[in-house]
Symmetry: C2
Subunit: 317 residues, 2 copies
């Protein structure tokens, strides 16, 4: 069974062909050009066709195309409603792809929902039936799986863990317009912000980045934290404490077996793990513990595999 | 259809007979004696039998007995696992009731879960399919209904909204052993605590309670708040702000259509409503708003009607 997968992210787009066992038969990646959404989709569909033909198949052999999108998706109206970072709004994604590819079975969803569904098909599979899937990257997003089913909410917007308040006394501004959100305190952007503050305070610390040729962002900070740099570690500890608070809310509410983390910053989960677990221990009702926080089994391909899983999941509805 | 309902609360027990339309045919209430759980159940079953006979029916005409319990319930093993306030632990409630009454169909559940299920059958019925049911009383409890189904969680402990942290800077101790929980800051107990602090500070304020013969608790404070007493209002505003924070977490996470509130303190929802809504407005992602906070349609009988609804809900599983 051939499944087309398109994962449109805020910065990169990944697309290709996956079979029903989650084996990636073909994969292409390119930077997301946010200037013209229609053009982006046209290019993505052409690349997808190329993948199919290069594998020696025909388009009609593909059972469907799954698309994960970086924003709010209206599944019924098959629309990308809003994508904050790229400025996209009200795009009939399914219809456009159907027209270009001739494939009628096009399933779209929000990227974190796709990841959470993907975990059931290609990640931890049947290991867990109740989990919180959290992506920690530029922002922080979440999705809830309860009793093996994704919880969508009244308007398809559940899992807004990134906008739960984790700081009331000294709240930082969030792109959503509010203050003190987890996204403002525990995301990759927040880590970069803490890092810039520390660099401004200490020229010694700033020089390490120059000397080692590290980028001034979460990834660069992670390199130093892993080398036990005190300041870099304190930055990750701060973010981890806020992540623990946010995850704590989610655990108290849905009583999951596990929290599964994906996204760029989750590759540094090992640096943050102890502080996250310590914070969970004091913010979650004892009856709900222990709950582990683990890295997604889909790694870097989470949203890409997630996109493909949408097609399989739709067959099972 | 006759349904037996037993609602065992931490302070009062309510039992009686309800028909499938939610009409209360018979109701008895007495204080809960927490010293001997078996004796309490025996007494409750005898009273239930009396209700049936007084109505001119026989026990065998009852289709089942629903029991709501003030603590953690293991539905599969049919146990009351733990009840913090009364100290009960590991009681095979269903089995005991089956033996005493001869009725085999005995369904037990946690009281807040029972309320949330009851709302579907006897309260707002089909008006809402996605809601957060919150009880604000001595403590604060919660239950989640998503897409018309109660979310139970991995170990049946979901909805622990009372133990979400709402205060990190000046956290108050919670009976759970942790600090800063919603239960410690936004419950009836918390309101009583704030009230005692204010009474200790101002003899003028203390005298009002003596003069008016008001009890020094949430109910007494509500009387004064409704009369626009500045201190009493500030106490309710404080609790309402914390309740808004807690509800905000729940709304961000499950994207409900509505929050339904029950429990003793919810009868003062109108005093707290504005502050709760203002807090929700700044703590919830805009995409999920508006969400109303309403009082349960089952009023004082919520857990009692909820107990009966367990029997109906079990038929529909």
């Amino acid at each position: 069974m051939l499944i087309g997968a398109i994962d449109i992210g805020g910065t990169k787009t990944m697309l290709g062909i996956i079979n029903s066992d989650g084996i990636i038969l073909s994969k292409i990646q390119f930077p997301t050009d946010t200037t013209d959404f229609n053009l982006l989709i046209l290019f993505a569909c052409e690349q997808l066709k190329k993948c199919v033909l290069d594998l020696g198949y025909e388009m009609k052999e593909m059972v469907g195309i799954g698309v994960s999108l970086p924003g709010m998706v209206d599944r019924e109206r098959k629309l990308l409603v809003r994508s904050v970072y790229s400025g996209w709004q009200d795009f009939a994604v399914s219809e456009i792809i159907q027209k270009i590819t001739g494939i009628q079975n096009v399933i779209i969803d929000n990227d974190v929902n796709a990841c959470a569904i993907g975990e059931m098909y290609f990640g931890y599979k049947k290991t867990y039936r109740n989990y919180l899937w959290v992506t920690v990257s530029t922002g922080v997003g979440g999705a809830l799986v309860c009793d093996g089913k994704l919880i969508r909410g009244a308007s398809g917007c559940s899992g807004e863990i990134g906008h739960m308040k984790v700081e009331y006394e000294k709240p930082l501004p969030c792109p959503c317009g509010e203050l003190g959100c987890l996204e403002a305190h525990g995301s990759g952007t927040a880590i970069k912000h803490y890092l810039e503050q520390e660099i401004a305070k200490s020229s010694d610390f700033a020089n390490i980045f120059n000397r080692k040729g590290l980028t001034v962002d979460a990834a660069g900070c992670a390199v130093l934290a892993k080398e036990n740099n005190r300041i870099a570690k304190s930055i990750y500890n701060k973010a981890a404490c806020y992540l623990g608070r946010g995850l704590g809310y989610g655990i108290n509410l849905i009583n999951p077996e596990v929290v599964i983390m994906g996204g760029g910053v989750s590759s540094s989960l090992n640096i943050m793990h102890d502080v996250i677990m310590d914070t969970i221990a004091i913010t979650v009702n004892k009856a709900l513990l222990p709950v582990e926080v683990v890295h997604t089994k889909m790694g870097y391909n989470a949203a890409f595999l997630g996109a493909a899983s949408l097609v399989l999941d739709n067959f099972n509805q």
